[in-house]
């Protein structure tokens, strides 16, 4: 369809009702809009038309045979009858054929009660089956830990097949065999690889594909549904939480065309399993002489107040999680600042704070999520966007399908589900050179001289050609963007990458945007959970110390809000060491971990996802509030309430809130005028990174936060973190290592035994060793010098 001219409008008549629609539209689109009910199984408004279930047959005047409404374009003057005898006979006939091979055992089917076939069979089916022959039986397939199969129930609508090809971008499902022997599946043994695979559960109109973790645990009519916001990536996908009593049973997507359309990632869908993890903290606890005791809330709060009050302000810190709600982060910083300390940070994976003062107040996407689709070109620096923000990657995929040119500068050649026009795959140090080369090429193309600062950074001459191609593409595209991803953010030269990205963006007439990592990364900046900026990202006179400076300079009192130091920080070992030296540590968290038990003195149990009201600000700047769905476990309380009471106990003014909405509204007023502009320039061109063998790490999709790390189903997928040192074949040959060999990975003072895997996606001088495992946590920063020593165990070389 051309978008330049408005299509001609056509008038038709359906069941005596006059309808208008654009020429070329399918009949079912009009009837759906007019709420005229036509039964269907294979049609889905987000998928291509297959017209293979034949359930939507309707009568059209002057057409001898019934026509499928999903594949019949409207014509001027067309007269349609959806409920005439002829239409009904066709629909009932189709239903009878569909039921020929479908088992009639709804009571033992997990889809029972929310099944499209069951529902329609009620209206279109016969009371008695005329089919007395044997029904076919199809063996079930194991397609991974997330989706359960019952393929005998499959009616071959191919929604799942079309989804995997058209939306997920990986054609892994198919229809094999033919005729009565047709089967839907992946044919080979294995698991689905898509991070959006759970959506086929919702798409499947029957009980053939159901949720494996949810299977046989509840019936649809027992569940209470409440809207909420997914707490993982910065998309803030709209979700519906289904609870039975005080337990969250499952999560399904809610429709919001401007954010997640109708899809959610598997991370958003299955992470709820973590809520009931065995290591949930359900009572306040205090450590005396190295032993933990359960105590009353009052005792614990008093201990915290005493501990904080006796810590001198410059030694007091709050380290907060960017997955905390806006209200929690706002109250945490308000409390800290009231106690005289600006040592508060949420940027747990930030690798470089040198130019933090010139960072934008709103470090978001720089455009709306839906706008990503209409980009003509984009350069993404340091991001595995497909796994980091699956829904944003889906939008980019749509742009790419429409002809957009996507370019990547990455330290690992990640697998994407869209075509990449140019990729510069180069180690961490080279990334700066490659980005500088793109900036220089653009400046030259614009007839400007390249400043010496940028010229001096162009050290990676091997990328020149690619850089010129990227520059040309960005320059010619009417709408282009530059994005900085998670790996860029943890880069020791993030300031330099950002400055260069801003130069590229302004030279190509686009904007520099950011791919925030967590549900509330952007919100945390607005809430004032940063040392150098206050509420609404305002400048403060008394700038405090950020995480890196706190680790470096030490602290004597610390509040951890939702943070697991061993898994949430870029350089866990050093953060843990600093916390061990810290005299008084409070952990406010829904869970407990060995590390927290080791470093903390008081633990306050707080509500987990689904148990508290709150607000997240997503990447595009939309404030999305949600309410609690179930009560917190045990004695756990919503963190905003805990912080409020703590404020009261400490006699701090302005903590008399009665609801989280009150907190939010106060913050919202302070944020008026912040806007969603991300164009503020950086100006840092000095690299901090040496050359040599360099470790580079991504945070695997199911290691990003406390909740997903505790979801058993997600941890069984192929995307779960593994402790492997991936290097190129050439690098392996140079170091005399072979695939599968055990080596010692040495980073600073840390040393871990690890298996070497040769991988064509890794460039020279780079060791790809992901975060997310206990051993990786003990190594050091995600990007930094590393060496691999042959041999393992004692008495090594």
């Amino acid at each position: 369809m051309s978008d330049s001219s408005t299509p001609e409008m056509v008038t038709i008549e359906v069941d005596g009702q006059e309808l208008q629609g654009p020429a070329g539209a399918m009949l079912i689109e009009l009837t759906d809009k007019a709420c005229i009910d036509i039964p269907r199984f294979c049609y889905h408004d987000k998928l291509t038309i297959a017209a293979n279930c034949r359930m939507c047959l309707v009568e059209v005047e002057k057409v001898p045979k019934p026509l499928p409404a999903c594949a019949t374009p409207i014509m001027e003057g067309m007269k349609v009858f959806t409920k005439s005898d002829k239409a009904r006979m066709a629909q009932k006939g189709t239903m009878e054929f569909l039921l020929v091979n479908h088992p009639l055992d709804c009571p033992i089917c997990d889809q029972g009660g929310e099944c499209e076939l069951q529902d329609l069979a009620l209206g279109y089916g016969r009371d008695i089956s005329r089919f007395s022959e044997n029904k076919r039986v199809v063996a079930d397939k194991d397609i991974g830990p997330l989706v359960a199969t019952d393929m005998t129930r499959c009616i071959h609508c191919t929604r799942c097949v079309r989804f995997s090809e058209e939306i997920a971008g990986i054609r892994e499902l198919g229809a094999t065999g033919r005729g009565e022997n047709t089967e839907i599946g992946i044919y080979i043994e294995g698991s689905m690889q898509s991070e959006l695979s759970g959506n086929i559960i919702d798409l499947c109109p029957v009980g053939a594909l159901t949720s494996k973790p949810f299977r046989f645990t509840a019936r649809a009519w027992e569940l209470v549904q409440q809207p909420s916001i997914a707490p993982h990536d910065s998309v803030g996908s709209n979700i519906l939480v289904h609870a039975r009593g005080s337990q969250i049973m499952r999560v399904v997507p809610d429709r919001n065309e401007s954010i997640n359309e109708v899809w959610i990632s598997d991370r958003d869908r299955f992470s709820y399993e973590g809520i009931g993890s065995d290591d949930r903290l359900t009572t306040p606890r205090i450590k005396t002489n190295g032993v933990w005791h359960d105590v009353e809330w009052q005792v614990a709060l008093q201990a915290v107040a005493d501990g904080l009050r006796t810590t001198s302000a410059d030694q007091l810190a709050a380290i907060t999680s960017p997955t905390s709600t806006l209200e929690e982060l706002y109250l945490a910083q308000k409390l800290m600042r009231a106690l005289g300390s600006s040592n508060i940070d949420h940027r747990l994976r930030l690798g470089d704070v040198r130019d933090q003062d010139s960072a934008p107040a709103f470090p978001g996407l720089g455009c709306s999520i839906a706008d990503l689709e209409s980009l003509d070109a984009a350069l993404v620096i340091g991001s595995n966007i497909r796994k980091d923000q699956p829904i944003l990657a889906h939008r980019l995929r749509k742009a790419s399908n429409a002809g957009a040119e996507l370019h990547f500068i990455n330290p690992v050649d990640f697998d994407f589900v869209f075509s990449v026009a140019n990729r510069l795959i180069i180690g961490p140090a080279g990334m700066v050179g490659a980005t500088a080369a793109v900036a220089a090429a653009l400046l030259e193309a614009n007839g400007k001289s390249v400043p010496a600062d940028i010229r001096n950074l162009c050290t990676a001459s091997e990328v020149d050609q690619g850089a010129k191609a990227i520059a040309g593409s960005l320059q010619q595209a009417p709408r282009s963007m530059v994005f900085l991803g998670a790996i860029a953010e943890s880069h020791p030269d993030y300031s330099v990458l950002r400055s260069l990205a801003c130069t590229i963006a302004s030279e190509c007439g686009g904007q520099c945007g950011y791919l925030p990592q967590s549900a509330n990364s952007v919100g945390a900046c607005l809430a004032g959970a940063q040392p150098h900026r206050g509420v609404g990202a305002s400048t403060v006179s008394d700038s405090g110390r950020g995480l890196a400076a706190l680790v470096e300079g030490g602290m004597s009192g610390c509040v951890l809000l939702g943070v697991e130091p061993e898994a949430d920080c870029d350089d866990p070992a050093h953060v843990i060491a600093a916390l061990e030296d810290c005299g008084f540590v409070v952990s406010m968290h829904a869970f407990t971990t060995e590390t927290l038990e080791q470093v903390a003195d008081v633990m306050l149990p707080i509500a987990a996802f689904g148990e508290t009201s709150g607000t997240f600000v997503n990447a595009e700047g939309t404030w999305q509030s949600f309410s609690g769905v179930v009560p917190p476990r045990g004695d756990a309380r919503p963190a905003w309430k805990v912080l409020r009471v703590l404020g009261n106990v400490l006699d701090v003014e302005g903590f008399e809130y009665e609801s989280s909405e009150q907190v939010r509204d106060e913050l919202h007023r302070a944020c008026e005028g912040v806007g969603t502009d991300t164009s503020q320039h950086g100006n840092c061109y000095t690299t901090a990174l040496d050359v040599g063998l360099m470790r580079v790490a991504d945070v695997p999709i199911y290691s990003t936060d406390a909740l997903v790390r505790r979801s058993p189903a997600l941890q069984k997928t192929g995307d779960a973190a593994s402790f492997l040192a991936r290097i190129s074949h050439a690098q392996a040959a140079q170091l005399g290592l072979s695939d599968g060999e055990s080596v010692s990975v040495v980073q600073g003072d840390a040393r871990q035994v690890c298996t070497v895997v040769t991988d064509t996606r890794v460039p020279e001088s780079t060791v790809w060793l992901s975060c997310g495992t206990a051993k990786a946590a003990m190594l050091g920063a995600s990007i930094g010098p590393v060496s691999l020593e042959k041999g393992s165990g004692e008495g090594m070389l």
């Binding site: 090809e165 990986i170 054609r171 892994e172 499902l173 198919g174 229809a175 094999t176 065999g177 033919r178 992946i186 044919y187 080979i188 697998d415 895997v757 991988d759 064509t760 996606r761």
Partner: protein
């Protein structure tokens, strides 16, 4: 994917032959050659296809493997289990049926002591499970032996054809 562990490599002859077919289609529609490519690989592999062989075809034609599996499982001329040295398909569609195809099938089953879809114990002959119209109704009843049409069959002519197979 890191590295597809494809344990199957297309032979030089197979590649040449597939390239011959590829030349007939537009460069961006390599998948058009999938039936030809599978036929080439199947005949090289002793009459049947394996998953690694289909993966190799998928990689060569730049197709998702599942799309090749779909084609491989759809057509009756592709076999996914090991077969005998010769394949016999007797047409059982309407014209051949009226002209006595059932008797021919019964005779073959008795003669070889196997059922449709099975391979004789000496590994000589496989009777293909099911064959619909092979477009030779004028010569019904008919059968296809290793790709060659034999028409106007009688029990005697079937015997002589089958006995002549090594």
């Amino acid at each position: 994917m890191a590295e597809q562990s494809t344990s199957y490599t297309l032979s030089e002859t197979a590649r040449t032959e597939i390239d011959h077919w590829l030349a007939k289609f537009p460069a961006e529609q390599k998948r058009s050659a999938v039936i030809a490519a599978l036929t080439v690989v199947q005949s090289e592999e002793g009459g049947s296809l394996t998953t690694p062989a289909m993966d190799a075809v998928a990689a060569y034609l730049d197709m998702p493997p599942i799309a090749v599996y779909e084609v491989g499982t759809f057509y009756s001329m592709f076999d996914l289990h090991p077969v005998g040295r010769h394949k016999i398909s007797v047409c059982k569609n309407i014209s051949c049926m009226l002209m006595g195809a059932d008797d021919i099938v019964a005779h073959l089953q008795n003669k070889l002591a196997i059922k449709l879809g099975e391979t004789s114990s000496d590994g000589r002959i496989t009777l293909i499970q099911e064959e619909e119209c092979l477009a030779a109704c004028g010569g019904a009843p008919m059968m296809v032996v290793d790709g060659h049409y034999h028409e106007n069959l009688t029990i005697e002519s079937v015997d002589s054809i089958v006995d002549g197979l090594e």
